[in-house]
C-alpha cells in the first residue's frame, strides 16, 4: 500500500437538459492507494454508482478526469478502454448477471479467459467455497452462491482494481457478511484494490478508506484506522 492507484479530479456529470437537468457529480476529487479497500458510501441518488461506472470506463464524465496508474481514461479510445477494463478491472454487480447456460466453473472461466495472468480457477472455487457446486448452473444456486460466482468471475482475472456495485444489495444479512468476507479475503490474498459502492453504513467499518458522498460531492474522505473484519460487522 502507499502507491497511488486511482486519482479522481474535479469529476462532473449531469443527466438531462434544461429543467430536467440533474447534476449527479458536481466536482469530485479523491485518490485511492494501491491495495486499499475503499468504500464509496452514500444514499441513493448520491452519484456513487455513476462514479463507479466512470471509474470503470463504462461511462464518461462531463468534466474532470479519472487517472489509473497515471493513465487518464479520457485520453483512451474505445478500444483502449476495453483493453483497460480487460487488463485492470474486475466487476461485481448487485445483480449477478451470470450466463445461465454456463456452469459455475465455466462462468468463472469467462473471467479467466480475459486475463493474461489469471488465478487458478480451482483455487478460486475453493476460496469462494464453490467446489461442491462447480458443475451446477446458476439457476440451481441461491442468491448468495450466485454472487460468489460473480465475485469469482471478477477475482479470477487477478485485477488491479475490483469494482463492486452494491454486491450485497440483494442478499440477506448472513449471506451479505459472507460475501463481504470473501471480498475482504480477495483483497488480502491477491492484493487487488477494492472499490465498493454501498449505501450500508456498517460496511465502512471494514474499509481502509471511506469516502462519503452526498448530492454529487465528497462530504467525507477518511482513512479508517480501526477497521474490523467483515465477519464482525453488525447492522
Amino acid at each position: 500500500m502507499g502507491k497511488e492507484c486511482l486519482e479522481i479530479s474535479n469529476l462532473k456529470k449531469s443527466f438531462g437538459t434544461g429543467e430536467a437537468r440533474q447534476d449527479v457529480l458536481r466536482g469530485m476529487n479523491f485518490t485511492v492507494q494501491k491495495g486499499e479497500f475503499c468504500v464509496l458510501l452514500g444514499p441513493s441518488g448520491s452519484g456513487k454508482s455513476t462514479l463507479l461506472n466512470i471509474i470503470g470506463g463504462i461511462d464518461t464524465p462531463d468534466e474532470g478526469y479519472v487517472s489509473i496508474n497515471g493513465d487518464k481514461l479520457e485520453e483512451m479510445s474505445e478500444k483502449e478502454l476495453t483493453l483497460y477494463r480487460r487488463r485492470h478491472l474486475g466487476y461485481v454487480f448487485q445483480m449477478y448477471n451470470l450466463i445461465p447456460n454456463l456452469n459455475v466453473k465455466e462462468n468463472i472461466e469467462v473471467g479467466a479467459y480475459l486475463s493474461d495472468n489469471p488465478l487458478d480457477v480451482e483455487e478460486v472455487l475453493t476460496t469462494l467455497g464453490l467446489q461442491d457446486h462447480k458443475y451446477k448452473y446458476p439457476n440451481q444456486l441461491s442468491g448468495g452462491q450466485q454472487q460468489r460466482v460473480s465475485i469469482g468471475r471478477a477475482v479470477v482475472k487477478n485485477p488491479d482494481i475490483l469494482m463492486c456495485d452494491e454486491p450485497t444489495g440483494a442478499l440477506d444479512y448472513k449471506t451479505s457478511k459472507e460475501i463481504l468476507a470473501l471480498i475482504e479475503d480477495c483483497n488480502k490474498k491477491y492484493g487487488s484494490t477494492v472499490i465498493m459502492v454501498t449505501h450500508n453504513e456498517a460496511i465502512k467499518n471494514m474499509a481502509d478508506h471511506v469516502i462519503k458522498l452526498r448530492d454529487g460531492v465528497v462530504r467525507h474522505n477518511d482513512v479508517n484506522e480501526s477497521k474490523i473484519p467483515a465477519i464482525d460487522l453488525e447492522w
Partner: protein, 895 residues
C-alpha cells in the same frame, strides 16, 4: 485458453432445440427442395447434353425417295453444290444431239434418195423412157447400187459438214437458252447462285420403317412405331432399363411410351404382325419427346413410339423402308447463326446433288430445328425461373427470422452482455459469439439440405421430368448454380444480415446494456388511453409495449400470405389461362403453309370464304438477363410472332398505317411494359439482322407475344415478294389445300394442349411447393408467436404471481396477437396478392409467352383460412406455453 463462451453454443442448441429444429427444418426443406430442383435440372441437362456427344446425335437428316448411290452420297458428303446448269445443259445437249442426229440422218436419206431418183428420171427422159413401171424399176436398182456410195459422198461433202455443224450449234444454243430461262427461276427459289463455302459432312445410313404396334396383342393397332436397326452408328439410344435386342424376336422401345401404354420389360408386343419381346426401355437421343413429325405442335407419347430391333429383324419387317440418312458436319458449327448458315449451305448441296444424281428428297431437317430433340431441352432450361423466385422469397424469410431471434436474444441477455463488456470483452468477441449460432444453424441446414437435394429431392425433380419426357437416365451432377443459389447466397445473406443486426445492437455502451436501456428512442410519457375497462386497457398496453414484435409478426404474416398466394395462385393462373386460351385465339384456324407455292409453282389458294392470307416472321425480343448463370433461368430471348395482315382484315384491325411502325399484342405490351410511341428492336434468330419498329398501337390479344403490320409493309420490311404469304386465317376448316403443303394448323385446341401439358408437368411440382409452403408458413407463425411469449415470460410470470388466472393471461397475451393476426391476415392478403402480381410479372419475364397472375375467389379465401387455421393451432401451443411458465421466472430473472 479457449473462449468459454463457446461452450454455450451446443447448450443453447440443446435448450432451445425446438426453435432451432424449426429453423433447420425450414432451411432443410427450402435448400433441399430448391437445390433438388436445380440438381435434378442440371443433372438432366447434363445427361441430355452428355448423351448428345456420347450417343452421336446427328447434325441433321434427310430422306430420299430411293436408296442413294455411292456417287450421290459422295457428292452430298463433299458439301459441294453440283453444277445443275451444266447437268441440265449436258442432259439437254444429249437429247438435242440425238434429235439433231436423227433429223440429219432423215434429211440426208431424203436428199440422197431424192437425188438418185432425180438422176434416174433425168436419164430415163434422155432415153425417152416414159413407162413409169420401168422408171421405178431403174430407180430401185439405182438405189440398191449406189445409195450407200451416194450417201458416203454426200457425207463427205463440205456443204454437208457445215450444215451438220450448224445444226448442232443451233440445237446446243437452243438448249442453253432454254436451260437459262428455267434456271433463273430455280436458282432464285433456292438461292443457288449465292457463293457459299461448301460444308462437308459425314453421312450415315439411318433407315427406318414405320410399323403398326399392338401393345396388348388384341389385333388392333394401338400406335405407330418407328423402327431403327440396333447397330446404328448415329442417333443412338440410352437404356433406361434392359439391354439392346440381340435376337430377332427382341425389341427395345421408348421408355415414356412404355410407361404411358402400360407395357414393361419382358412383355410381348406385336409389331408389323410379328411378336417381339421387350428387352429394353430406351431413350433415343433424338427423340426426347415423341414428335412423329416436326410440324406436330405437341408430341404424342401414346400414339407414337420409337424402337430398335436387330438388323435381321429389321430386314424381315414388311413396311416400306424410309431411306433416311443422317449427317454430321466435319467442322462443328459454333453457334446458332453458324448452324443456320451451315444448314442452308448443306441444303443447296443436297438439292443439287440429288438432282444431278436423279434422286428425290422426301424430307430434310437440320437437328437444331428438330422438335423431338429440342422441345424438352428448352422446356427444362426454362424451368428454373419459378424455383429462383421461390428461393429468393424464402431466403428473405429466413434471414428475417434470424434477425428477430438474434435481436431478441441480445435484448434478453442485455445484462450479461453489459457485464461481459464491462469486464473487458471486446465488441468483436461478442459479435463473433452471437454470430456463431446463426452461422452454425445455416451451415447445418445447408449441409443437410444439400445432401437431401442431391439425393431424395433430386430424384423427385428427375421424376417430374421423367413424367413428361423420354429422357435418358441421369446421375446427380455437381450443380454450381444450386450451390450458389441455395447455399452460398443464403449463407452470405444470413451472415451479413445477422452481422448488421448484431453489430448495430452491440453498438450500445456497456452501461446501456446493464441498464436494459436498449431502445433507440424513448417515450417520456405513457400513452393516454380512453376510460375503457381495466383488462381492455391492460391488453392495449401489452400491444403498445410489444409493438416492435407485432411489427415483426405483421411482416411475417405478409410473407406467409405472399407464399400462400404463390402456392394457390400459380396453378390457378395456369388453369385460368387454359380456360381463357380458346377465347384468346383470333382465328379459329391458323394454317401455316410450307410455302406459298405448291410443287408446280402455283400459288396455293382456297375456296374457303372466311380464309384470309397472312404472313409471319418469328423474331426475337432481347430480354434483360436476370440470373447468375447465362442461360439458366433466363429463358433466353423472347420469341415474337410478327404478322403481316391484309388490308381490311376481318381478324385483326389495324387502324393506322404501318409504314412507320407496328401494332403489338396486349400481352407483349403488358409483359415488357411497352407503350404506344415506344420503340422495339427485334432480331432474327438465325441471321445477323435487326429490325427497329415504332409501336403505333396495341392490339387486344393476350394469347401471345406478337406484332402486327400491313402485309405490304411486312413484305417490304422483310424483303418478301408481293405475292408471298405464310398461311391462312380461317373461321372454318379448310379442306381444299393439299396436306403436304400445310406445315401446321393451330386451333384453340392446340393452345389448350400446350397449357394442359404445362399443367401435367408443373402440376405435381406445384403441389410439392404448396405443401412445403404450408409447412413453412406454420413454422414461421410458430416461431414468431413463440418469440412474443418468450419476450413476455417474466411479465406473464409476474401476472400469475399477482393472481391472474391462466385464462385471463391468455386473454391478455394471446387475444391481442389473435386480433392483430386476423386483421393483418386480411390486409396482408391484399399486400401479398399485389406483390405476387408484381413477382409473377418478373417470373413471366423469364419465361416465354405471357399470362397474368390470377387467383380464384375460393383460393383467396383459402389462403386466408389456411393462415388462420395455422395460427389457431399455434395459439393452442401458446396457451400451453403460458400455462407452463413458472412463477419464479419473475423472481429469479429480475434483470
Amino acid at each position: 485458453m479457449r473462449n468459454p463462451l463457446i461452450k454455450r453454443i451446443p447448450r443453447e442448441l440443446r435448450s432451445d432445440w425446438h426453435k432451432y429444429i424449426v429453423i433447420i427444418l425450414f432451411m432443410v426443406i427450402m435448400i433441399g427442395v430448391i437445390s433438388g430442383m436445380y440438381v435434378g435440372h442440371d443433372s438432366m441437362l447434363a445427361a441430355v447434353y452428355g448423351g448428345r456427344e456420347e450417343l452421336n446425335i446427328e447434325d441433321g437428316s434427310f430422306e430420299l425417295s430411293k436408296k442413294a448411290s455411292d456417287e450421290l452420297l459422295d457428292g452430298i458428303a463433299s458439301g459441294e453444290k453440283a453444277d445443275v446448269r451444266a447437268y441440265y445443259i449436258d442432259k439437254g445437249n444429249k437429247e438435242a444431239d440425238e434429235e439433231v442426229a436423227k433429223a440429219i440422218e432423215e434429211e440426208l436419206n431424203k436428199q440422197v434418195t431424192e437425188g438418185i431418183e432425180e438422176a434416174v428420171r433425168a436419164q430415163c427422159a434422155a432415153y425417152g423412157i416414159t413407162d413409169e413401171t420401168l422408171i421405178q424399176q431403174q430407180i430401185d436398182k439405182a438405189m440398191t447400187d449406189s445409195f450407200d456410195s451416194a450417201l458416203l459422198e454426200a457425207k463427205e461433202s463440205d456443204e454437208y459438214q457445215k450444215a451438220v455443224e450448224d445444226a448442232y450449234t443451233e440445237a446446243h444454243d437452243e438448249v442453253i437458252k432454254k436451260v437459262d430461262e428455267k434456271w433463273d427461276d430455280i436458282a432464285d427459289r433456292y438461292n443457288l447462285n449465292d457463293e457459299v463455302a461448301p460444308v462437308p459432312v459425314t453421312i450415315y445410313e439411318h433407315f427406318y420403317r414405320e410399323e403398326s404396334e399392338d401393345n396388348n396383342n388384341d389385333g388392333t393397332e394401338d400406335a405407330v412405331v418407328r423402327i431403327y436397326k440396333s447397330d446404328s452408328e448415329i442417333d443412338k439410344a440410352s437404356f433406361n432399363e434392359g439391354r439392346a435386342p440381340e435376337k430377332d424376336n427382341e425389341i427395345a422401345i421408348d421408355r415414356m411410351h412404355a410407361d404411358n401404354v402400360g407395357v414393361k420389360l419382358g412383355d410381348t408386343i406385336t409389331v408389323g404382325g410379328k411378336e417381339f419381346e421387350i428387352v429394353g426401355l430406351i431413350s433415343y437421343v433424338n427423340y426426347l419427346t415423341l414428335h412423329s413429325s416436326n410440324t406436330d405442335q405437341m408430341f404424342d407419347a401414346f400414339g407414337f413410339d420409337v424402337a430398335m430391333v436387330t438388323p435381321d429383324a429389321f430386314d424381315n419387317l414388311t413396311a416400306r423402308v424410309h431411306y433416311s440418312y443422317a449427317y454430321k458436319y466435319i467442322n462443328v458449327p459454333e453457334n446458332k447463326v453458324e448452324k443456320a448458315d451451315y444448314s442452308d449451305s448443306f441444303l443447296k448441296s443436297l438439292i443439287t446433288q440429288t438432282l444431278v444424281h436423279d434422286s428425290e428428297i422426301e424430307d430434310y431437317l437440320p437437328e437444331y430445328l428438330r422438335q423431338a430433340s429440342n422441345f424438352a431441352v428448352s422446356d427444362i432450361e426454362g424451368d428454373s425461373a419459378a424455383t429462383s423466385i421461390l428461393c429468393y422469397i424464402l431466403i428473405g424469410v429466413i434471414a428475417f427470422i434470424f434477425a428477430i431471434i438474434i435481436s431478441n436474444t441480445i435484448d434478453k441477455e442485455a445484462s450479461v452482455i453489459g457485464t461481459l463488456r464491462a469486464s473487458g470483452y471486446s465488441r468483436s468477441e461478442l459479435v463473433f459469439h452471437y454470430m456463431s449460432m446463426p452461422v452454425i444453424v445455416t451451415i447445418l441446414g445447408a449441409v443437410i439440405g444439400n445432401v437431401l437435394g442431391y439425393t431424395a429431392f433430386k430424384n423427385l425433380a428427375v421424376y417430374l421430368y421423367f413424367n413428361s419426357y423420354s429422357l435418358p437416365t441421369c446421375h446427380a451432377v455437381w450443380s454450381s448454380t444450386a450451390l450458389v443459389k441455395t447455399t452460398i447466397i443464403p449463407l452470405l445473406l444470413m451472415f451479413f444480415i445477422n452481422l448488421f443486426v448484431i453489430v448495430k445492437k452491440l453498438q450500445l455502451s456497456p452501461l446501456r446494456f446493464l441498464r436494459h436501456d436498449l431502445a433507440k428512442t424513448k417515450r417520456t410519457k405513457a400513452r393516454r388511453l380512453p376510460a375503457w375497462s381495466f383488462l381492455r386497457r391492460f391488453r392495449l398496453r401489452i400491444l403498445f409495449q410489444n409493438m416492435p414484435n407485432y411489427v415483426v409478426l405483421i411482416f411475417g404474416v405478409v410473407f406467409i400470405q405472399l407464399m400462400l398466394c404463390f402456392a394457390f395462385g400459380l396453378p390457378d393462373s395456369l388453369n385460368h389461362y387454359a380456360k381463357e386460351a380458346p377465347n384468346m385465339i383470333f382465328a379459329d384456324y391458323q394454317y401455316m403453309l410450307m410455302d406459298y407455292m405448291d410443287e408446280d409453282g402455283n400459288i396455293i389458294e382456297t375456296s374457303e370464304e372466311t380464309a384470309e392470307k397472312f404472313s409471319l416472321e418469328d423474331l426475337l425480343y432481347p430480354k434483360a438477363k436476370s440470373s447468375i448463370r447465362e442461360g439458366m433461368g433466363s429463358g433466353g430471348d423472347e420469341s415474337v410472332s410478327v404478322y403481316g395482315i391484309v388490308a381490311d382484315s376481318s381478324y385483326i384491325t389495324l387502324e393506322k398505317d404501318t409504314k412507320d411502325g407496328v401494332y403489338i399484342s396486349s400481352a407483349f405490351s403488358k409483359k415488357f411494359g411497352i407503350k404506344e410511341g415506344d420503340e422495339v428492336t427485334l432480331n432474327a434468330e438465325y441471321e445477323n439482322k435487326s429490325y427497329t419498329f415504332n409501336v403505333i398501337g396495341i392490339v387486344q390479344y393476350d394469347g401471345g407475344i406478337a406484332a402486327f403490320m400491313n402485309i405490304g409493309d411486312f413484305n417490304s420490311t422483310f424483303g418478301h415478294k408481293d405475292k408471298e404469304f405464310s398461311g391462312y386465317f380461317s373461321r372454318n376448316e379448310i379442306t381444299d389445300i393439299d396436306e403436304q403443303d400445310i406445315g401446321a394448323v393451330i386451333t384453340a385446341e392446340d393452345i389448350t394442349k400446350v397449357t394442359n401439358q404445362l399443367m401435367h408437368s408443373m402440376g405435381k411440382f406445384m403441389d410439392v411447393f404448396k405443401y412445403a409452403l404450408i409447412v413453412l408458413s406454420a413454422s414461421l407463425i410458430y416461431l414468431l408467436a413463440k418469440i412474443i411469449i418468450e419476450k413476455n415470460e417474466s411479465s406473464i410470470s409476474m401476472a400469475k404471481i399477482l393472481g391472474f388466472r391462466n385464462g385471463e393471461i391468455g386473454g391478455l397475451y394471446i387475444l391481442p396477437t389473435a386480433i392483430v393476426v386476423v386483421i393483418f391476415s386480411l390486409i396482408s392478403f391484399v399486400i401479398g396478392y399485389m406483390l405476387m402480381i408484381w413477382i409473377f410479372h418478373a417470373f413471366m419475364l423469364q419465361m416465354d409467352g405471357y399470362f397474368a397472375f390470377y387467383m380464384t375467389k375460393a383460393s383467396m379465401i383459402l389462403s386466408i383460412v389456411y393462415l388462420l387455421i395455422g395460427y389457431a393451432a399455434v395459439s393452442l401451443v401458446d396457451f400451453r406455453r403460458i400455462k407452463r411458465i413458472p412463477l419464479d421466472v419473475a423472481l429469479k430473472n429480475i434483470e
